[in-house]
Symmetry: C2
Subunit: 337 residues, 2 copies
DNA sequence: TTGTAGGCGTTATCAA
DNA sequence: TTGATAACGCCTACAA
């Protein structure tokens, strides 16, 4: 491996000049810069990342903390962040906190403090105050995506608004027997996504003067199978709804499959609206409120880069929740008279 | 941040002893080791990863090269590898080569040579000979998962065997009008997965003395929508098959949805067998040949660790393709007489 | 614009 | 078993 000295010697300059020529930091004449870069290319020289970060304190590496890497929302956020970070020369190190519980604290304790990354993105990671304290101690920027972390700036959608948009759509179409296919309000629901959506569902109905009938809310774990099972209950119920609001697109897909199996036609006999903007929405013809997690990841990365990179100042107003939009497809229509 | 000197001073020993006490490398008396670790804990000392790797040449970081992070197979492999690596104290840095094409060569050129990782896992990454050469130059272990890379040891399943197992199942049930829902044999099919499966399908039929009828092979891109579309063609064809072999579980799901829509009952009127072992297989009742990508990831990590870690010698015979197994569910049965 | 030289925080060799 | 100390390879004031 060629080192900076080799290049310096071959180019007839000092190592300082090589460093400056390669990194772009500091003043170098155009001529020498080109020469150095040429020599470097010939020698196949690439600066050692470890040496560079030891000397500079920067690592060009961002850590992403996530509880899952195999769920749609998380994957999309990771992909969006990665794309943006990579575009600016940053590596992404993935800390999967979901796998083995015992690993979790070691990961946070050891690695996160080992100064391997310049900053963190935490996707829906519930951190306790001790953990947050430690993260602040090491003084590295951190930004949350999804679930809010106390004392940490977080970008996310407004779960209340999301449900309102979906419900408004159904109400405007003329539905009144609307059921909820919700997320379970258990201890996994650390960030109250499931409960916020349910509460908003109820309050919107109430405001519209529509009572929430017993049995008109069924719950699952945001997956297709759970949506299917819960929808079956909803649709075989005595007072079958004319519309369903699903807390996730995947649950909505499950509901669509369940409805087809029961011979219930969508949208004439049953309207379904989801929340997410899942790629398969198109395929299933699902009307949904798109929360664009890919963009959430990109935005998180952009804000982070803004803090880390010296010359950037594309400040983003982080107090505004990210926009969501209703995507109308063929799963919703006016209820049959 | 406490440094090694702080700990040395506080514990009344040399930095060398601190280093040895913390890393476990080198001989230290039990007593001093405990004392040092206690002092280190009190001071909240954690060794700097960059400094350590500059000095030792090891980074405790593994790079995963992948073209996608949002596709089931890849996510599973990553998850399996990550889990295993993390268990041994390794970080995982993700190099997503799929996103922006222009990024690809820079990633390979720059980062991979910057010595930030100790080894690589390449999941279905097509590398040209120049790229392989460079990877060998830096002399870091590399292992492929899925697609074979010239000169690089690769673990993968035997695509021929997979198809044979699935076909044997259908043939044993008594099917003879078997159609293929294949992968498109285009330039994306670098590793000939699609074409190998198709060829094996044809040869198995031929050996069974069954002609491959025109129109009995339709192709897609391994996704649910493409499986749906291709299956529609297959099932509205004049000579409708009694069984379908799908090149991926997702395509099989698409086929199941298509069949239901056409009012074709599974498995009495149509048997469907997939390839993958997708989580949703259970939900759809899909008979499939499980290729366990999670385990593929774990195995890749284990082999890599075996090379990197000093004291391990759990040698794995890498010349054996990984095992696959037929998972029988409710999507296959004898054809109706 | 360029060069000199002192870190950056560990690890590992060699003596003791 | 422990301690001194020379790398590790680069960055960055500071000086020229």
């Amino acid at each position: 491996m060629a080192s900076i000295d080799d290049v310096a010697r071959a180019a007839g300059v000092s190592t300082a000049t090589v460093s400056r020529s390669m990194s772009g930091r500091g003043a170098v004449s155009e001529a020498t810069r080109l020469k150095v870069q040429k020599v470097a290319a010939e020698l196949g020289y690439v600066a050692s990342a470890t040496a560079a970060s030891l000397a500079s304190g920067r690592s060009s590496n961002i850590g992403i903390l996530t509880p899952y890497i195999d769920r749609w929302f998380f994957t999309e956020v990771i992909r969006g962040a990665q794309e943006e970070l990579s575009r600016h020369g940053y590596d992404v190190t993935l800390y999967n906190l979901g796998g083995v519980p015992a690993q979790r604290s070691r990961m946070l304790d050891d690695f996160i403090h080992r100064g391997r990354v310049d900053a963190f993105i935490a996707i829906d990671v519930p951190l306790d105050s001790a953990e947050i304290g430690r993260l602040h101690d090491i003084n590295r920027p951190i930004i949350g995506v999804g679930g809010a972390i106390a004392g940490v700036r977080t970008i996310s959608i407004d779960d209340t608004e999301v449900v309102r948009i979906a419900m408004r759509h159904l109400l405007e179409l003329g539905h009144s027997r609307i059921a909820l296919l919700g997320g379970r309000d258990d201890d996994v629901d650390v960030f109250k996504v499931a409960s916020t959506r349910r509460k908003t569902f109820e309050s919107v109905l109430r405001q519209a003067g529509i009572p929430v009938l017993p049995g008109s809310m069924q719950f699952g774990d945001f997956t297709i199978p759970s949506g299917y099972t819960a929808a079956k209950k909803l649709l075989t119920h005595a007072n079958r709804p004319t519309a369903i609001l699903a807390a996730s697109d995947e649950m909505a897909f499950g509901a669509i499959i369940a409805a087809r199996e029961l011979g219930i036609t969508i949208p004439s006999e049953l309207s379904i609206v989801g929340i997410d903007g899942h790629d398969l929405g198109e395929f299933f013809g699902l009307t949904t409120v798109d929360q664009n997690p890919l963009q959430q990841g990109r935005t998180a990365a952009t804000i982070l880069l803004d803090e880390i990179l010296p010359h950037r100042t594309e400040t983003i107003d982080i107090n505004t929740a990210l926009p969501v939009r209703l995507v109308k497809r063929s799963s919703t229509a006016k209820p049959r008279a």
